[in-house]
């Protein structure tokens, strides 16, 4: 039984939980430790309330009512604090090292970037956390994934996590928390570390984290919910105590060389089915017999020829956003690629900031102009085409270059739609080329 320091709530997985609390006449003993926002159903084209989708409207009303009734802070639609739950937790300073964090959403692992223990939970557990502020959790083993040496130009933390998933697969994480470390991770910004931790769940791990360090504290300093003044110094001391000791022992250790990694693209229907942009889609004959069926199923669904090059796969839609890659640095990198160029004819491209705060910050830097100028749609904050519970969806068999986290069949709203996961800069490159393209051809030779 663990105390939950921060409980984040969104509109999709919470209404039933609040109903269950009411049904048992229960209370929420720590309303101050739960924070709510709306993200999944937001129509990101700025359409006014009530939403065109009556059921979506009802979900938002239910959340508003539940928050009022139980005294829970709610970052409402359009407010500065609203956005994808895993973007706003960190950017408001609510997410802090050493906390246990829970949310009715599998990508809660994102918050591990701060050295927090963060779990995705189901609706019944949302009820339990609301009612008791605790969770029953089995102890986890720890697998340290050490990424040595710096990443090269055009290679981002998204490529690191996709490489890890390609290496370890989507099941290897069962029973584990993933600890990410090594020179490449030490050098990452908090935004990049969040991308890394975000997709731990795709590897089957229950949680993922990076030990808190100076980068973590620098990010938190001055955020609305971060401690201030003398309390700040005490907090840093306390937070620092959560880092693993240098000589700590692990249940498993995996080493990778960051300098050998390349921009990655998924070609299949789970995030472990991934190849470098310079590589080829596998042939079923390349792998042992028991792996062939899944490759065949994936190639068949994706409509890809076995052994073809990854570069050059045509795309119809380009989506930049999500809790994986909808933060300011992600948008900056994508904008570097888009600047002065044009989205290919026939490609529908959209940029959906992860939160209102990200949107405003990007607009202050003029990124919205860069994207619009290149022919991208510039949207309001939400989950959007990551899972397409809002009106942003693929149509028919469209193929989407996407900076999100899941390429499952039908994930982006069309039962036959196809998803290629990659970094936001790679998505921008694909949008411009009209096909999967190596982002390094779009970037200046030496990165500043």
């Amino acid at each position: 039984q663990l105390f939950v320091g921060l409980h984040l709530v969104h509109e999709v997985t919470s209404p039933q939980a609040f109903d269950m609390i009411r049904a048992r006449g229960g209370k929420v003993p720590f309303p101050g430790r739960t924070v709510a926002t709306v993200d999944h159903i937001v129509p990101t084209d700025g359409s006014p309330r009530p939403f065109a989708d009556a059921m979506a409207e009802e979900m938002l009303r239910a959340l508003e009512r539940n928050c009022r009734e139980f005294g829970i802070r709610f970052f409402e639609l359009g407010s500065e604090g609203q956005g994808i739950v895993h973007v706003i937790g960190p950017e408001t300073g609510l997410t802090q090292p050493g906390m246990t964090i829970a949310c009715g959403d599998s990508h809660t692992s994102t918050h591990g970037a701060f050295g927090a223990l963060a779990f995705g939970i189901g609706t019944s557990q949302v009820r339990d956390v609301l009612a008791s502020q605790t969770l029953a959790v089995e102890p986890l083993k720890v697998r340290r994934i050490e990424v040595g040496s710096a990443l090269r130009r055009g290679v981002y933390s998204k490529d690191v996590i996709l490489s890890i998933l390609g290496l370890l697969g989507v099941k290897a994480g069962a029973g584990f928390a993933y600890e990410y470390g090594g020179a490449a991770v030490d050098a990452m910004s908090m935004d990049e570390r969040m991308t890394l931790c975000n997709m731990s769940i795709e590897g089957g791990a229950r949680a993922g984290y990076v030990n808190p360090d100076a980068t973590t504290f620098e990010y938190l300093k001055g955020r609305p919910f971060a401690p201030k003044g003398e309390a700040w110094d005490r907090a840093v001391t306390w937070w620092s105590s959560f880092a693993s000791d240098p000589g700590a022992s692990y249940d498993d250790l995996v080493r990778m060389d960051g300098s050998t990694l390349e921009p990655m693209v998924t070609w299949g229907i789970n995030p472990g089915q991934v190849a470098p942009v310079t590589g080829r889609v596998p042939k079923p004959g390349d792998v042992p017999a028991d792996g062939r069926a899944s490759i065949l199923e994936a190639l068949d669904y994706m409509g890809l020829e076995a052994g073809r090059t990854v570069a050059g796969i045509p795309v119809d839609v380009a989506f930049i956003g999500s809790c994986t890659n909808g933060r300011l640095t992600d948008l900056r990198e994508a904008a570097r690629v888009a600047k002065g160029r044009r989205v290919a004819k026939g490609v529908r491209a959209l940029v959906v900031p992860g939160s209102n705060a990200v949107r405003k910050a990007a607009e202050r830097e003029g990124l919205d102009e860069v994207f619009r100028g290149a022919g991208f749609d510039w949207r309001e904050a939400g989950c959007s085409m990551c899972l397409a519970m809002n009106p942003d969806r693929l149509v028919g068999r469209e193929t989407c270059a996407s900076s999100s986290n899941r390429n499952f069949k039908g994930r982006q709203g069309s039962p036959t739609g196809r998803t290629l996961l990659m970094s936001p800069a790679m998505v921008a490159a694909a949008a411009i080329a009209g096909e999967v393209a190596d982002v390094r051809a779009f970037l200046p030779e030496e990165q500043p």
């Binding site: 105390f3 009715g104 939970i121 189901g122 019944s124 502020q133 029953a136 519970m389 709203g413």
Partner: protein, 201 residues
């Protein structure tokens, strides 16, 4: 919730072969636009079923032969992906009372336990044998025995595994997870007071 014990589940079975079946396939996101879990059973595997409709091999959930099945037979990493409890809800509301597989995603497993849907694991060979036996004879009666930690069907008998604590929950019918957590609420308050981010740094 009610204190119903689950010692075993018996009935016909439905084989659903394939690894890494994710929750987006079990219940596509557009069906989550609701404030209740009601009616989810209609949409279980909605897209996969439509994709295979009218083909030579309809989806198992559309095979009349498997209608009324109470045991679902799956392979590795079943229920991976999103944490949506809607997935086990849809399966359970469809009439499935136990899931037997080679392995499960952890969140799916926890969600299933929370709503009283036992998920148990058996060896690759045993699951394959069961799936094949049921394909040959869809009326085959399958018994998932939590008390005896075994699964039996016709001539097949194999051990099953599930964590002791989870088995205990089913055998004793101690469903009230919230109640259990609240039993030690005094301690919870004490812990909270000691945490600097609650009481102030």
């Amino acid at each position: 919730m009610s204190a119903t014990t689950i010692t075993h589940v018996a009935g016909t079975a439905l084989p659903l072969p394939g690894d890494d079946v994710d929750t987006d396939r079990i219940i596509p996101a557009r069906f989550l636009v609701s404030v209740t879990f009601e009616g989810l059973e209609k949409h279980v595997f909605a897209d996969d079923r439509v994709a295979r409709k009218g083909t030579a091999s309809p989806h198992p959930f559309d095979e009349p032969a498997f209608e009324g099945a109470s045991v679902l037979l799956v392979n590795r990493n079943f229920g991976c992906g999103s944490s949506r409890e809607h997935a086990p809800q849809a399966i359970r509301r469809r009439g499935i009372r136990a899931v037997v597989g080679e392995s499960f995603s952890e969140i799916f497993f926890g969600n299933s336990v929370a709503i009283g849907l036992p998920c148990v694991t058996a060896s690759h060979e045993a699951v394959r044998a069961l799936q094949e036996a049921v394909l040959r004879d869809p009326r085959l009666r399958v018994v998932v025995d939590l008390a005896k930690r075994s699964i039996r069907a016709g001539t097949i008998s194999s051990p099953i595994t599930l964590p002791d604590a989870v088995r205990e929950v089913f055998l004793s019918g101690s469903w009230d997870a919230t109640g259990l957590l609240l039993d030690r609420f005094d301690e919870v308050e004490a812990v909270a007071k000691k945490l600097p981010y609650v009481s102030g740094f």
